[in-house]
């Protein structure tokens, strides 16, 4: 089973990288861009076969390690 954990900065937390990318996109002529935020996409492959269990485990991994909940939120998606 594969779990995709998306980790994103909470609203209100400054994202200097996103800001720099937005600027660079403007410089490249993408003038319609209004905002960019950069997050992580962590793919965890497990031997777990039950989707619900895999989901619960991935959430626990995110809480314990993958995300820093002071500044980040996360979302888990299970892909068979």
């Amino acid at each position: 089973m594969k779990a995709v954990v998306s980790v994103t900065l909470k609203p209100g937390v400054l994202d200097p990288q996103g800001k720099a990318i937005a600027q660079a996109l403007h410089n490249l002529g993408f003038s319609s861009v209004t905002d960019v935020r950069v997050g992580k996409r962590i793919t965890v492959q497990t031997t777990e076969t039950d989707p619900a269990a895999a989901h619960a485990q991935a959430e626990e991994m995110a809480r314990k390690l993958l995300a820093n909940t002071v500044i980040e939120s996360f979302q888990v998606e299970i892909v068979p």
Binding site: V13, P16, Q17, A20, K64, L65, N68, I71
Partner: protein, 230 residues
Amino acid sequence: MKAGIVVFPGINRERDMAIALAQAAGSAPRMIWHRETDLEGLDLVVIPGGFSYGDYLRCGAMAARSPVMDAIRAHAARGGAVLGVCNGFQILIEAGLLPGALLRNASLRFLSCDCWLRVERTDTIFTDHWQRGAVFRSPMAHGDGNYFADDPTLDRLEGEGLVAFRYVTEQGEATTTACRNGSVRNIAGILSPNRRVLGLMPHPEDLVDPLMGGTDGQPLFHGLAAALAA
């Protein structure tokens, strides 16, 4: 003073830290590989700089979740002194021993240069060898030193006087340009409520000998050695 330096895989400023501690205390600190969990008899636990676990995922994240951290937490809870420098600061924050977060530098680049720090209070074991408001030079070297916390946390830190050092100009002013990594309110180092845990980004341990270019960092270590002398 019995000091121990905790070495996680990827830590790389333990030798610098040992130089500074040995010079101040007159004896070499104990080196503690991260799998050891016995901190018995130590007055001071230091987590030095470097790239624990390669700084992968988030700086300090993996080290903060390793078993020795429970021992460090217990040491701090007993009122033991803890110093975290650079990656050590990041680890203390990830472990929840200090509040806030350390984000990528505002410039998005690694910053290795000297900075000036202002001592915000002098009634702590870490700072009592400085004059209040003293300004000293320190090397810094990090990619993720941009201190961040939400406003309530910041107000609490300020209100309780837990900001230990701020980035300032050579003249002591906390301007935006003096704070090259973008830290909120120019914060360079903070204390725990009991003021026995200090985390800071710059490296005073790399300026303790004229051969290193100066001795500006010495008061930190001399202060600790004096305060924690057996």
